[in-house]
Amino acid sequence: MGFLVDAFLKAIHLILRGDPATYSALATTVYVSTVSLAASLLMGIPAGFLLGYVSFPGRRMLRTLVDTLLSLPTVLIGLLVYGLLTRRGPLGRFELLFTVHAIVIGQALLALPIVTALTASAVEALDGRLRVTLLSLGAGPVRRFATSLREARYGVLAAAVTAYGRVLTEVGIAIMVGGNIKWHTRTLTTAIALETNKGDFAAGIALGAILLLLASGVNAILYGLRKRA
Protein backbone atom coordinates (compact mmCIF):
# COMPACT_ATOMS: atom_id res chain seq x y z
CA MET A 1 0.00 0.00 0.00
CA GLY A 2 2.86 2.35 0.93
CA PHE A 3 4.16 1.60 -2.54
CA LEU A 4 1.08 3.11 -4.21
CA VAL A 5 1.05 6.16 -1.93
CA ASP A 6 4.72 6.67 -2.80
CA ALA A 7 3.91 6.47 -6.48
CA PHE A 8 1.06 8.94 -6.18
CA LEU A 9 3.22 11.47 -4.34
CA LYS A 10 5.92 11.00 -6.95
CA ALA A 11 3.43 11.71 -9.75
CA ILE A 12 2.40 14.99 -8.14
CA HIS A 13 6.05 15.83 -7.57
CA LEU A 14 6.98 15.14 -11.22
CA ILE A 15 4.15 17.35 -12.46
CA LEU A 16 4.59 20.24 -10.07
CA ARG A 17 8.37 20.32 -10.16
CA GLY A 18 8.10 20.48 -13.96
CA ASP A 19 10.50 17.59 -14.47
CA PRO A 20 11.74 18.28 -18.04
CA ALA A 21 12.17 14.60 -18.97
CA THR A 22 8.59 13.86 -17.93
CA TYR A 23 7.25 16.84 -19.85
CA SER A 24 9.23 15.82 -22.90
CA ALA A 25 7.71 12.32 -22.76
CA LEU A 26 4.27 13.86 -22.24
CA ALA A 27 4.69 16.20 -25.23
CA THR A 28 5.91 13.34 -27.43
CA THR A 29 2.95 11.22 -26.36
CA VAL A 30 0.44 13.97 -27.13
CA TYR A 31 2.09 14.65 -30.49
CA VAL A 32 2.31 11.09 -31.79
CA SER A 33 -1.12 10.01 -30.56
CA THR A 34 -2.86 13.11 -31.93
CA VAL A 35 -1.24 13.02 -35.36
CA SER A 36 -1.72 9.27 -35.73
CA LEU A 37 -5.36 9.55 -34.67
CA ALA A 38 -5.97 12.41 -37.14
CA ALA A 39 -4.43 10.36 -39.96
CA SER A 40 -6.47 7.29 -39.10
CA LEU A 41 -9.71 9.34 -38.92
CA LEU A 42 -8.98 10.92 -42.27
CA MET A 43 -8.65 7.51 -43.90
CA GLY A 44 -10.84 5.41 -41.64
CA ILE A 45 -14.07 7.44 -41.62
CA PRO A 46 -14.57 7.42 -45.44
CA ALA A 47 -13.45 3.78 -45.61
CA GLY A 48 -15.78 2.78 -42.78
CA PHE A 49 -18.62 4.72 -44.36
CA LEU A 50 -18.20 2.95 -47.69
CA LEU A 51 -17.98 -0.38 -45.92
CA GLY A 52 -21.14 0.22 -43.92
CA TYR A 53 -23.22 2.11 -46.50
CA VAL A 54 -22.48 0.83 -49.97
CA SER A 55 -22.98 -2.76 -51.01
CA PHE A 56 -20.46 -4.19 -53.41
CA PRO A 57 -19.14 -7.68 -54.14
CA GLY A 58 -16.69 -8.88 -51.50
CA ARG A 59 -17.97 -6.48 -48.88
CA ARG A 60 -18.64 -9.20 -46.29
CA MET A 61 -15.13 -10.51 -46.73
CA LEU A 62 -13.62 -7.06 -46.43
CA ARG A 63 -15.65 -6.42 -43.31
CA THR A 64 -14.39 -9.66 -41.75
CA LEU A 65 -10.86 -8.71 -42.71
CA VAL A 66 -11.14 -5.31 -41.00
CA ASP A 67 -12.59 -6.97 -37.90
CA THR A 68 -9.67 -9.39 -37.87
CA LEU A 69 -7.22 -6.51 -38.09
CA LEU A 70 -8.67 -5.24 -34.79
CA SER A 71 -6.60 -7.96 -33.16
CA LEU A 72 -3.30 -6.89 -34.74
CA PRO A 73 -0.74 -7.06 -31.94
CA THR A 74 1.28 -3.88 -31.54
CA VAL A 75 4.60 -5.71 -31.58
CA LEU A 76 3.72 -7.20 -34.94
CA ILE A 77 2.87 -3.75 -36.33
CA GLY A 78 6.14 -2.55 -34.83
CA LEU A 79 8.03 -5.31 -36.57
CA LEU A 80 6.35 -4.66 -39.93
CA VAL A 81 6.99 -0.91 -39.74
CA TYR A 82 10.57 -1.64 -38.70
CA GLY A 83 10.98 -3.82 -41.78
CA LEU A 84 9.71 -0.97 -43.96
CA LEU A 85 11.74 1.81 -42.38
CA THR A 86 15.12 0.22 -41.63
CA ARG A 87 17.87 1.72 -43.80
CA ARG A 88 18.07 -1.68 -45.49
CA GLY A 89 14.29 -1.66 -46.09
CA PRO A 90 12.13 -0.32 -48.95
CA LEU A 91 11.58 3.08 -47.28
CA GLY A 92 15.02 3.24 -45.69
CA ARG A 93 16.23 6.24 -47.62
CA PHE A 94 13.75 8.52 -45.84
CA GLU A 95 15.54 7.82 -42.55
CA LEU A 96 12.37 7.67 -40.51
CA LEU A 97 13.36 4.86 -38.14
CA PHE A 98 13.79 5.96 -34.51
CA THR A 99 11.93 9.23 -35.10
CA VAL A 100 8.47 10.31 -33.92
CA HIS A 101 7.26 9.93 -37.52
CA ALA A 102 7.91 6.19 -37.36
CA ILE A 103 5.74 5.95 -34.23
CA VAL A 104 3.01 7.98 -35.97
CA ILE A 105 2.98 5.60 -38.95
CA GLY A 106 2.75 2.55 -36.72
CA GLN A 107 0.06 3.98 -34.47
CA ALA A 108 -2.00 5.17 -37.44
CA LEU A 109 -1.93 1.58 -38.73
CA LEU A 110 -3.05 0.44 -35.29
CA ALA A 111 -5.95 2.92 -35.15
CA LEU A 112 -7.12 2.57 -38.75
CA PRO A 113 -8.99 -0.76 -38.40
CA ILE A 114 -10.63 0.47 -35.18
CA VAL A 115 -11.93 3.67 -36.79
CA THR A 116 -12.98 1.82 -39.95
CA ALA A 117 -14.80 -1.03 -38.20
CA LEU A 118 -16.61 1.13 -35.62
CA THR A 119 -17.60 3.73 -38.24
CA ALA A 120 -18.97 0.95 -40.45
CA SER A 121 -20.98 -0.44 -37.52
CA ALA A 122 -22.35 3.01 -36.68
CA VAL A 123 -23.40 3.60 -40.30
CA GLU A 124 -24.95 0.14 -40.60
CA ALA A 125 -27.02 0.83 -37.50
CA LEU A 126 -28.64 3.91 -39.06
CA ASP A 127 -32.37 3.83 -39.64
CA GLY A 128 -32.91 2.31 -43.11
CA ARG A 129 -35.56 4.93 -43.84
CA LEU A 130 -32.93 7.68 -43.84
CA ARG A 131 -31.42 6.39 -47.06
CA VAL A 132 -34.82 6.10 -48.73
CA THR A 133 -35.79 9.59 -47.60
CA LEU A 134 -32.55 11.13 -48.85
CA LEU A 135 -32.89 9.36 -52.19
CA SER A 136 -36.49 10.42 -52.60
CA LEU A 137 -35.51 14.02 -51.83
CA GLY A 138 -33.03 13.77 -54.68
CA ALA A 139 -29.89 14.22 -52.53
CA GLY A 140 -26.59 13.66 -54.38
CA PRO A 141 -23.91 11.27 -53.11
CA VAL A 142 -21.95 13.97 -51.21
CA ARG A 143 -25.09 15.18 -49.50
CA ARG A 144 -26.06 11.62 -48.58
CA PHE A 145 -22.58 10.99 -47.18
CA ALA A 146 -22.63 14.18 -45.11
CA THR A 147 -26.13 13.68 -43.74
CA SER A 148 -25.67 10.00 -42.92
CA LEU A 149 -22.36 10.71 -41.24
CA ARG A 150 -24.03 13.43 -39.21
CA GLU A 151 -26.67 10.98 -38.07
CA ALA A 152 -23.95 8.49 -37.13
CA ARG A 153 -21.83 11.08 -35.32
CA TYR A 154 -22.03 9.51 -31.85
CA GLY A 155 -20.84 6.21 -33.23
CA VAL A 156 -17.98 7.93 -35.07
CA LEU A 157 -17.04 9.85 -31.93
CA ALA A 158 -17.02 6.58 -30.01
CA ALA A 159 -14.72 5.18 -32.70
CA ALA A 160 -12.35 8.12 -32.24
CA VAL A 161 -12.36 7.79 -28.44
CA THR A 162 -11.66 4.05 -28.63
CA ALA A 163 -8.86 4.52 -31.17
CA TYR A 164 -7.31 7.32 -29.13
CA GLY A 165 -7.29 5.16 -26.04
CA ARG A 166 -5.54 2.44 -27.98
CA VAL A 167 -2.76 4.62 -29.45
CA LEU A 168 -2.29 6.52 -26.20
CA THR A 169 -1.60 3.37 -24.23
CA GLU A 170 0.30 1.18 -26.68
CA VAL A 171 3.98 0.51 -26.03
CA GLY A 172 5.03 -2.14 -28.57
CA ILE A 173 5.18 0.16 -31.59
CA ALA A 174 6.69 3.12 -29.76
CA ILE A 175 9.53 1.08 -28.31
CA MET A 176 10.34 -0.87 -31.46
CA VAL A 177 10.31 1.84 -34.12
CA GLY A 178 10.75 4.84 -31.83
CA GLY A 179 13.60 3.32 -29.87
CA ASN A 180 12.71 5.04 -26.57
CA ILE A 181 15.33 7.75 -27.21
CA LYS A 182 15.46 10.27 -24.38
CA TRP A 183 14.23 13.78 -25.34
CA HIS A 184 13.17 12.55 -28.79
CA THR A 185 11.06 9.43 -29.04
CA ARG A 186 10.48 8.57 -25.40
CA THR A 187 6.74 8.47 -24.74
CA LEU A 188 5.00 8.05 -21.40
CA THR A 189 4.47 4.34 -22.03
CA THR A 190 8.05 3.61 -23.08
CA ALA A 191 9.23 5.67 -20.10
CA ILE A 192 7.13 3.39 -17.87
CA ALA A 193 8.76 0.37 -19.48
CA LEU A 194 12.18 1.89 -18.83
CA GLU A 195 11.48 2.74 -15.18
CA THR A 196 10.33 -0.84 -14.72
CA ASN A 197 13.61 -2.02 -16.26
CA LYS A 198 15.49 0.23 -13.88
CA GLY A 199 13.54 -1.29 -11.02
CA ASP A 200 11.98 2.06 -10.09
CA PHE A 201 8.38 0.86 -9.89
CA ALA A 202 7.09 3.94 -8.08
CA ALA A 203 8.32 6.19 -10.91
CA GLY A 204 6.65 3.85 -13.40
CA ILE A 205 3.30 4.07 -11.65
CA ALA A 206 3.69 7.84 -11.30
CA LEU A 207 4.10 8.11 -15.07
CA GLY A 208 1.08 5.85 -15.47
CA ALA A 209 -0.96 8.24 -13.34
CA ILE A 210 0.10 11.14 -15.58
CA LEU A 211 -0.97 9.13 -18.63
CA LEU A 212 -4.39 8.51 -17.07
CA LEU A 213 -4.69 12.20 -16.27
CA LEU A 214 -3.99 13.01 -19.92
CA ALA A 215 -6.58 10.46 -21.06
CA SER A 216 -9.23 11.89 -18.75
CA GLY A 217 -8.51 15.39 -20.08
CA VAL A 218 -8.94 14.25 -23.66
CA ASN A 219 -12.15 12.41 -22.82
CA ALA A 220 -13.54 15.46 -21.04
CA ILE A 221 -12.97 17.52 -24.20
CA LEU A 222 -14.60 14.86 -26.38
CA TYR A 223 -17.54 14.63 -23.99
CA GLY A 224 -17.95 18.39 -24.29
CA LEU A 225 -17.96 18.04 -28.08
CA ARG A 226 -20.61 15.38 -27.83
CA LYS A 227 -22.89 17.56 -25.72
CA ARG A 228 -22.64 20.37 -28.25
CA ALA A 229 -23.10 18.11 -31.25
Binding site: L97, N180, K182, W183
Partner: protein, 278 residues
Protein backbone atom coordinates in the same frame (compact mmCIF):
# COMPACT_ATOMS: atom_id res chain seq x y z
CA UNK B 1 -5.60 36.86 -46.48
CA UNK B 2 -2.35 38.76 -46.06
CA UNK B 3 -2.83 38.67 -42.32
CA UNK B 4 -3.37 34.93 -42.49
CA UNK B 5 -0.17 34.49 -44.47
CA UNK B 6 1.78 36.48 -41.92
CA UNK B 7 0.31 34.40 -39.13
CA UNK B 8 1.35 31.19 -40.84
CA UNK B 9 4.82 32.62 -41.42
CA UNK B 10 5.10 33.69 -37.81
CA UNK B 11 3.93 30.38 -36.42
CA UNK B 12 6.22 28.37 -38.66
CA UNK B 13 9.10 30.69 -37.76
CA UNK B 14 8.51 30.11 -34.06
CA UNK B 15 8.22 26.38 -34.64
CA UNK B 16 11.48 26.32 -36.57
CA UNK B 17 13.26 28.26 -33.83
CA UNK B 18 11.82 25.96 -31.21
CA UNK B 19 12.78 22.94 -33.27
CA UNK B 20 16.35 24.05 -33.72
CA UNK B 21 16.70 25.01 -30.07
CA UNK B 22 15.44 21.56 -29.23
CA UNK B 23 17.82 19.72 -31.51
CA UNK B 24 20.70 22.13 -30.91
CA UNK B 25 23.45 22.42 -33.50
CA UNK B 26 25.25 19.42 -32.08
CA UNK B 27 25.92 16.47 -34.32
CA UNK B 28 23.62 13.54 -33.65
CA UNK B 29 25.17 10.19 -32.88
CA UNK B 30 22.90 7.17 -32.53
CA UNK B 31 24.21 4.33 -30.43
CA UNK B 32 22.68 0.89 -30.09
CA UNK B 33 23.54 -0.52 -26.72
CA UNK B 34 22.77 -3.02 -24.01
CA UNK B 35 20.25 -2.64 -21.19
CA UNK B 36 22.81 -2.39 -18.37
CA UNK B 37 24.34 0.89 -19.61
CA UNK B 38 20.91 2.51 -19.58
CA UNK B 39 19.37 0.88 -16.49
CA UNK B 40 22.31 1.94 -14.31
CA UNK B 41 21.93 5.56 -15.41
CA UNK B 42 25.41 5.55 -16.97
CA UNK B 43 24.31 6.96 -20.33
CA UNK B 44 22.06 9.54 -18.70
CA UNK B 45 25.12 10.84 -16.88
CA UNK B 46 27.39 10.57 -19.92
CA UNK B 47 25.21 12.33 -22.52
CA UNK B 48 25.41 15.90 -21.10
CA UNK B 49 29.19 15.56 -20.71
CA UNK B 50 29.57 14.42 -24.33
CA UNK B 51 27.41 17.32 -25.46
CA UNK B 52 29.53 19.79 -23.50
CA UNK B 53 32.96 18.49 -24.46
CA UNK B 54 32.45 17.12 -27.98
CA UNK B 55 29.29 18.94 -29.08
CA UNK B 56 27.79 15.59 -29.96
CA UNK B 57 24.14 14.86 -29.23
CA UNK B 58 24.43 11.28 -28.00
CA UNK B 59 21.22 9.29 -28.45
CA UNK B 60 20.78 5.64 -27.73
CA UNK B 61 18.49 2.69 -28.23
CA UNK B 62 18.93 0.25 -25.35
CA UNK B 63 18.29 -3.40 -26.11
CA UNK B 64 20.18 -6.67 -25.80
CA UNK B 65 23.61 -7.07 -27.42
CA UNK B 66 22.12 -9.45 -30.02
CA UNK B 67 19.59 -6.92 -31.27
CA UNK B 68 22.11 -4.07 -31.04
CA UNK B 69 24.42 -5.95 -33.42
CA UNK B 70 21.47 -6.65 -35.72
CA UNK B 71 20.61 -2.93 -35.77
CA UNK B 72 24.22 -2.28 -36.76
CA UNK B 73 24.06 -4.86 -39.55
CA UNK B 74 20.97 -3.14 -40.93
CA UNK B 75 22.64 0.29 -40.78
CA UNK B 76 20.12 1.59 -38.24
CA UNK B 77 22.73 2.85 -35.76
CA UNK B 78 26.09 4.64 -36.02
CA UNK B 79 27.84 3.06 -33.11
CA UNK B 80 27.47 0.03 -30.84
CA UNK B 81 28.28 -0.33 -27.15
CA UNK B 82 28.02 -4.05 -26.46
CA UNK B 83 29.44 -6.79 -24.27
CA UNK B 84 29.88 -10.15 -25.97
CA UNK B 85 33.52 -10.28 -27.17
CA UNK B 86 33.28 -13.52 -29.19
CA UNK B 87 30.18 -12.40 -31.06
CA UNK B 88 31.72 -8.94 -31.58
CA UNK B 89 34.86 -10.41 -33.14
CA UNK B 90 32.76 -12.40 -35.59
CA UNK B 91 30.76 -9.27 -36.34
CA UNK B 92 33.87 -7.27 -37.20
CA UNK B 93 35.35 -10.16 -39.20
CA UNK B 94 32.21 -10.41 -41.29
CA UNK B 95 32.86 -6.81 -42.28
CA UNK B 96 30.02 -5.10 -40.44
CA UNK B 97 32.06 -3.06 -37.97
CA UNK B 98 35.30 -1.13 -37.62
CA UNK B 99 37.35 0.46 -34.86
CA UNK B 100 36.37 -2.00 -32.13
CA UNK B 101 37.84 -0.69 -28.90
CA UNK B 102 37.74 -2.08 -25.40
CA UNK B 103 36.03 0.48 -23.21
CA UNK B 104 35.26 -0.76 -19.73
CA UNK B 105 34.57 -3.87 -17.73
CA UNK B 106 32.87 -5.18 -14.66
CA UNK B 107 32.06 -8.76 -13.85
CA UNK B 108 29.30 -11.29 -13.98
CA UNK B 109 28.13 -12.89 -10.78
CA UNK B 110 25.86 -15.82 -10.03
CA UNK B 111 23.15 -14.72 -7.63
CA UNK B 112 20.57 -16.81 -5.85
CA UNK B 113 18.43 -17.14 -2.72
CA UNK B 114 20.35 -16.89 0.55
CA UNK B 115 19.41 -20.45 1.59
CA UNK B 116 21.35 -21.62 -1.50
CA UNK B 117 19.59 -24.97 -2.13
CA UNK B 118 22.20 -26.18 -4.65
CA UNK B 119 25.06 -25.24 -2.25
CA UNK B 120 27.08 -23.27 -4.77
CA UNK B 121 28.50 -20.59 -2.49
CA UNK B 122 32.24 -20.15 -3.04
CA UNK B 123 32.36 -22.93 -5.63
CA UNK B 124 34.24 -22.47 -8.88
CA UNK B 125 31.91 -21.31 -11.63
CA UNK B 126 32.03 -24.67 -13.48
CA UNK B 127 31.22 -26.58 -10.31
CA UNK B 128 28.43 -24.12 -9.44
CA UNK B 129 26.76 -24.54 -12.83
CA UNK B 130 26.96 -28.33 -12.50
CA UNK B 131 25.48 -28.24 -9.01
CA UNK B 132 22.60 -25.98 -10.03
CA UNK B 133 21.61 -28.20 -12.95
CA UNK B 134 22.29 -31.37 -10.95
CA UNK B 135 20.06 -30.34 -8.06
CA UNK B 136 17.30 -29.21 -10.43
CA UNK B 137 17.17 -25.86 -8.62
CA UNK B 138 15.37 -23.13 -10.60
CA UNK B 139 17.61 -21.00 -12.82
CA UNK B 140 16.35 -17.89 -14.61
CA UNK B 141 17.95 -17.15 -17.97
CA UNK B 142 17.65 -13.99 -20.02
CA UNK B 143 17.07 -16.14 -23.11
CA UNK B 144 17.32 -13.11 -25.39
CA UNK B 145 20.72 -13.31 -27.16
CA UNK B 146 21.95 -10.48 -24.93
CA UNK B 147 25.58 -10.33 -23.87
CA UNK B 148 24.68 -11.89 -20.53
CA UNK B 149 22.77 -14.68 -22.25
CA UNK B 150 25.71 -15.36 -24.56
CA UNK B 151 27.98 -15.56 -21.50
CA UNK B 152 25.54 -17.87 -19.71
CA UNK B 153 25.52 -20.32 -22.61
CA UNK B 154 29.31 -20.20 -22.65
CA UNK B 155 29.33 -21.08 -18.94
CA UNK B 156 26.99 -24.06 -19.42
CA UNK B 157 29.23 -25.33 -22.22
CA UNK B 158 32.33 -24.91 -20.09
CA UNK B 159 30.61 -26.90 -17.32
CA UNK B 160 30.11 -29.77 -19.75
CA UNK B 161 26.53 -29.23 -20.88
CA UNK B 162 25.43 -29.10 -24.50
CA UNK B 163 24.32 -26.19 -26.59
CA UNK B 164 20.60 -26.89 -26.45
CA UNK B 165 20.61 -26.79 -22.71
CA UNK B 166 17.49 -27.04 -20.56
CA UNK B 167 16.21 -28.84 -17.47
CA UNK B 168 12.80 -28.58 -15.77
CA UNK B 169 13.86 -25.84 -13.36
CA UNK B 170 15.33 -23.72 -16.17
CA UNK B 171 13.20 -20.75 -17.25
CA UNK B 172 13.84 -18.13 -19.89
CA UNK B 173 12.39 -14.67 -19.41
CA UNK B 174 13.25 -12.99 -22.70
CA UNK B 175 13.42 -9.74 -20.76
CA UNK B 176 16.01 -7.25 -19.55
CA UNK B 177 18.35 -7.97 -16.67
CA UNK B 178 16.35 -6.10 -14.03
CA UNK B 179 13.11 -7.92 -14.87
CA UNK B 180 15.03 -11.19 -14.90
CA UNK B 181 16.42 -10.51 -11.42
CA UNK B 182 12.93 -9.73 -10.18
CA UNK B 183 11.67 -13.04 -11.51
CA UNK B 184 14.61 -14.83 -9.90
CA UNK B 185 13.77 -13.18 -6.58
CA UNK B 186 10.10 -14.15 -6.83
CA UNK B 187 10.88 -17.72 -7.85
CA UNK B 188 13.78 -18.11 -5.36
CA UNK B 189 15.92 -19.01 -8.35
CA UNK B 190 19.55 -18.63 -9.43
CA UNK B 191 20.55 -16.23 -12.18
CA UNK B 192 23.60 -14.87 -13.94
CA UNK B 193 23.82 -11.08 -13.94
CA UNK B 194 26.25 -8.29 -14.59
CA UNK B 195 27.29 -6.75 -11.31
CA UNK B 196 26.25 -3.22 -12.31
CA UNK B 197 22.59 -4.16 -12.69
CA UNK B 198 22.72 -6.24 -9.52
CA UNK B 199 24.01 -3.26 -7.51
CA UNK B 200 21.18 -1.16 -8.91
CA UNK B 201 18.74 -3.97 -8.05
CA UNK B 202 20.02 -4.09 -4.47
CA UNK B 203 19.41 -0.39 -3.92
CA UNK B 204 15.81 -1.16 -3.13
CA UNK B 205 16.03 -2.57 0.42
CA UNK B 206 12.95 -4.76 0.03
CA UNK B 207 14.63 -6.55 -2.86
CA UNK B 208 18.19 -6.48 -1.57
CA UNK B 209 17.40 -9.24 0.92
CA UNK B 210 15.95 -11.57 -1.69
CA UNK B 211 19.10 -12.40 -3.69
CA UNK B 212 22.76 -12.83 -2.72
CA UNK B 213 25.98 -12.95 -4.72
CA UNK B 214 27.02 -16.59 -4.45
CA UNK B 215 29.73 -17.06 -7.08
CA UNK B 216 32.15 -14.38 -8.20
CA UNK B 217 35.72 -13.75 -9.30
CA UNK B 218 37.99 -15.24 -11.92
CA UNK B 219 38.91 -14.28 -15.45
CA UNK B 220 36.05 -16.25 -16.97
CA UNK B 221 33.46 -14.01 -15.29
CA UNK B 222 34.94 -10.73 -16.53
CA UNK B 223 32.36 -8.73 -18.50
CA UNK B 224 33.97 -6.56 -21.16
CA UNK B 225 32.20 -3.73 -22.95
CA UNK B 226 33.45 -2.52 -26.32
CA UNK B 227 32.64 0.24 -28.76
CA UNK B 228 32.26 -0.67 -32.43
CA UNK B 229 31.58 1.76 -35.26
CA UNK B 230 29.21 0.52 -37.94
CA UNK B 231 31.27 0.14 -41.11
CA UNK B 232 30.71 3.11 -43.42
CA UNK B 233 31.53 1.08 -46.55
CA UNK B 234 28.46 -1.05 -45.78
CA UNK B 235 26.34 1.79 -44.48
CA UNK B 236 27.15 5.09 -46.21
CA UNK B 237 24.83 7.15 -43.98
CA UNK B 238 26.76 6.26 -40.82
CA UNK B 239 28.12 9.31 -39.03
CA UNK B 240 31.60 7.87 -38.96
CA UNK B 241 33.41 11.10 -38.09
CA UNK B 242 31.29 11.71 -35.00
CA UNK B 243 31.61 8.06 -34.04
CA UNK B 244 35.39 8.29 -34.27
CA UNK B 245 35.51 11.50 -32.27
CA UNK B 246 33.34 9.95 -29.57
CA UNK B 247 35.28 6.68 -29.50
CA UNK B 248 38.64 8.47 -29.24
CA UNK B 249 37.37 10.53 -26.34
CA UNK B 250 35.84 7.58 -24.50
CA UNK B 251 39.01 5.47 -24.67
CA UNK B 252 41.16 8.51 -23.92
CA UNK B 253 42.05 9.74 -20.42
CA UNK B 254 38.95 11.92 -20.01
CA UNK B 255 36.45 9.26 -21.01
CA UNK B 256 38.18 6.64 -18.91
CA UNK B 257 38.24 9.01 -15.93
CA UNK B 258 34.51 9.56 -16.39
CA UNK B 259 33.89 5.80 -16.29
CA UNK B 260 36.04 5.46 -13.17
CA UNK B 261 34.16 8.25 -11.38
CA UNK B 262 30.66 7.00 -12.19
CA UNK B 263 28.82 5.67 -9.14
CA UNK B 264 25.54 3.93 -8.42
CA UNK B 265 24.57 4.43 -4.79
CA UNK B 266 28.21 5.18 -3.92
CA UNK B 267 29.55 2.07 -5.66
CA UNK B 268 31.69 1.88 -8.78
CA UNK B 269 29.98 -0.33 -11.38
CA UNK B 270 32.17 0.06 -14.46
CA UNK B 271 35.97 0.08 -14.60
CA UNK B 272 38.20 1.60 -17.29
CA UNK B 273 39.52 -0.99 -19.71
CA UNK B 274 40.95 0.89 -22.67
CA UNK B 275 44.58 0.75 -21.56
CA UNK B 276 44.96 -3.03 -21.52
CA UNK B 277 45.87 -5.17 -24.54
CA UNK B 278 43.24 -4.74 -27.22
Amino acid sequence: MKKMGRLVLGVSGVLTLWGSAWAGDAERLLMATTTSTEATGFLDALAPKVKEVLNIDLQWVATGTGKALELGKRCDADLLLVHAPDVEEAYVQQGYGINRRRLMFNDFVVVGPSEDPARVKNCSIEEAMRRIAGSGAPFVSRGDASGTHVKEKELWRAAGFGNEFAYPGYIETGQGQMATLDIAAQRRAYALTDRATFIKFGQDPSRAASLRVLVEGGEVLINRYSLITVRPEKCPKVRAAAAEKFTDWMVGPQGQAFIEAFRVGGKAVFFPDAQGPQ
